[in-house]
């Protein structure tokens, strides 16, 4: 039952992930009446923090990128006047790759990063220089070409050394969940430019500070944020959106709906076969989501052997990246992959480590979680942090089933759709042509992954909505 006195919103956004928040904030700032409905009790999606036993843990996202002058997060902060509200620290180096033979550091000073790689691979000296020059002086026309290439083709165009190629592919595997033979070179280039060459930023107090600050500004711009509010249906008549139906069956009218939720649920559940053609649903059924991640959270007693805080340390056990990926997906060989990322939190009180892994099912993870926690700790202890297990005060983990439970991302996918060449810039997944007034935003649109990526999408979608309204 609709409340008779309820105003009609110009826009309802389903989900307060980073993209929904950025999008909503731009729309509210432009004077639109915006409602954001989020099923969880806090905003942020994968960019949230939680407290256990006195420790603060970041749930999934543990740093962000795109904050240099000209970066999308820098723009968002400037447009919403947030620079004075949150203190952002850049940890330097942002990332370290530990290979069997070398340790490579990604510094804020890109010249130093080039030096670090050239020191390890002197015979690739000029190629390394050229590769980083290409990434940092990106020409839109040249970059657009990458949408047609795999990362493998891109790396081979610059380098001959297989070990160097594996080192450069590891953070792409971790942050993009695909090996060089399959990931779009464009998606990979975005990870290089937005995660590694302009990454490592961290808000004081934890990642939750980021969505909290944008949500706060959204409300100051007149927006309404409803937490613990599940959207059950998007109401459509004559192929035009009319509003949403909440979990309590309340109907809220709106002229425009933006789903920051996962595309699969948006089309199959919120809309349904009655409003979405079979052909389109079949196309979606054939699309491949990214895998989930297994995230290890450790509360630790201070000790001297810890790696530098705020730095993403990537462990590369050997140079066969393709094999590593195949193992991470194997249904027969059910264990965590050998590579991982481990990071000591800036407050030095916790450790977050993660690795990509398939969704499987809830029962599997209930049974296996504790054993996986122990194996993961042992592996980190053996390869990266000696004596780690003696200093653990608290341990917990999130599985793909946990990610699904808190964020409702389809199959606990960490990065939305897999970053395949064939799954980039599908316009029907950002502005479906067959329903008027419906948009999607976030990593399920096929237009961007990661915090910088989804912020870009949120900003683009806000512009699309404002343009449509002007007509």
């Amino acid at each position: 039952m609709a409340k008779p006195d309820k105003e009609t919103y110009d826009v309802i956004i389903i989900g307060a992930g980073m993209s929904g928040l950025v999008c909503g904030c731009y729309l509210a700032k432009a004077g639109l009446r915006v409602l954001i409905a989020e099923q969880h009790h806090k905003p942020g999606g994968y960019c949230t923090s939680f407290r256990r036993k006195g420790f603060t843990f970041d749930a999934a996202a543990h740093s962000f990128g795109g904050y240099r002058e000209g970066g999308i997060l820098h723009k968002v902060f400037s447009d919403f006047n947030l620079h004075d509200r949150i203190k952002i620290t850049r940890y330097d180096p942002s990332d370290i790759i530990m290979s069997p033979d070398q340790t490579i550091r990604f510094w804020s000073d890109i010249g130093k990063t080039v030096d670090s790689l050239q020191g390890a691979f002197p015979h690739e000296g000029e190629n390394i220089q050229n590769f980083f020059h290409f990434l940092t002086h990106r020409q839109p026309t040249e970059f657009a070409k990458l949408g047609k290439m795999t990362l493998q083709a891109l790396l081979r165009a610059y380098f001959t050394d297989e070990k160097l190629q594996a080192i450069l592919a590891l953070p792409i595997l971790g942050n993009g969940d695909l090996p060089p033979s399959r990931i779009s070179a464009f998606v990979a280039a975005k990870i290089y430019t937005e995660f590694l060459l302009d990454g490592g930023y961290y808000p004081e107090g934890g990642m939750q500070a980021l969505p909290d600050a944008i949500a706060q500004r959204f409300k100051e711009y007149g927006g309404t944020l409803m937490l613990s509010t599940l959207v059950k249906k998007i109401k459509i008549t004559d192929s035009v959106v009319r509003g949403v139906v909440l979990g309590n069956s309340e109907f809220i009218p709106a002229k425009c709906i933006i789903s920051n939720g996962d595309a699969h649920q948006t089309f199959f559940n919120l809309l349904g076969t009655k409003h979405v053609g079979r052909e389109f649903l079949d196309m979606m059924d054939k699309m491949i989501p990214s895998q989930g991640i297994f995230v290890l959270y450790l509360g630790i007693n201070p000790f001297s052997e810890l790696p530098e805080p705020g730095v993403n340390c990537w462990f590369l056990p050997h140079y066969n990246i393709e094999n590593m990926y195949a193992l991470s997906r194997s249904e027969k060989n059910i264990k965590l992959p050998e590579y991982y990322m481990v990071r000591v939190s800036p407050d030095k009180k916790t450790i977050l480590a993660f690795v990509n892994t398939p969704f499987r099912n809830k029962r599997f993870w209930t049974q296996k979680k504790n054993a996986f926690i122990e194996t993961f700790i042992k592996s980190i202890e053996r390869n990266t942090i000696p004596d780690l297990s003696q200093h653990i005060a608290y341990k917990e983990a999130a599985t793909p089933a946990t990610l699904y439970r808190y964020t409702l991302n389809y199959r606990g996918a960490a990065y939305g759709w897999a970053g395949l060449i064939s799954q980039f810039a599908n316009r029907d997944l950002i502005k479906p042509s067959f329903i008027e007034g419906l948009y999607l935003t976030g990593h399920w649109t096929t237009y961007g992954q990661g915090i910088a990526g989804v912020a870009y999408v949120g900003h683009s979608v806000a512009n699309m909505v404002l343009r449509a309204k002007a007509h």
Partner: protein, 83 residues
């Protein structure tokens, strides 16, 4: 035929860039004049491929910088498909 191609291409560019069709001339440069970035450039390529049922090779992507260039490439690829 060629006029239809032009109309379709301008519609795609307008939709992706947000500029009105009237503002888009044969020599308008997408990158310099319409604020098209690399993501939008890929979107334009994907939309053109879908609309004309053709496949653009990676080395041809940078050639899609003006309506005229896009028309030339599309016409060429449609011709090639016929033969």
């Amino acid at each position: 035929m060629r006029e239809n191609i032009e109309k379709d291409i301008i519609a795609i560019i307008s939709e992706v860039s947000g500029y009105e069709p009237e503002e888009i001339k044969p020599d308008t440069n997408f990158f310099q004049d319409l604020e098209v970035d690399s993501i939008k450039a890929i979107e334009i390529t994907v939309a053109i491929e879908k609309k004309f049922k053709i496949s653009v090779r990676d080395e041809d992507v940078p050639k899609l910088a003006t309506v005229k260039q896009a028309m030339d490439l599309v016409s060429k690829l449609i011709e090639q498909k016929k033969t």
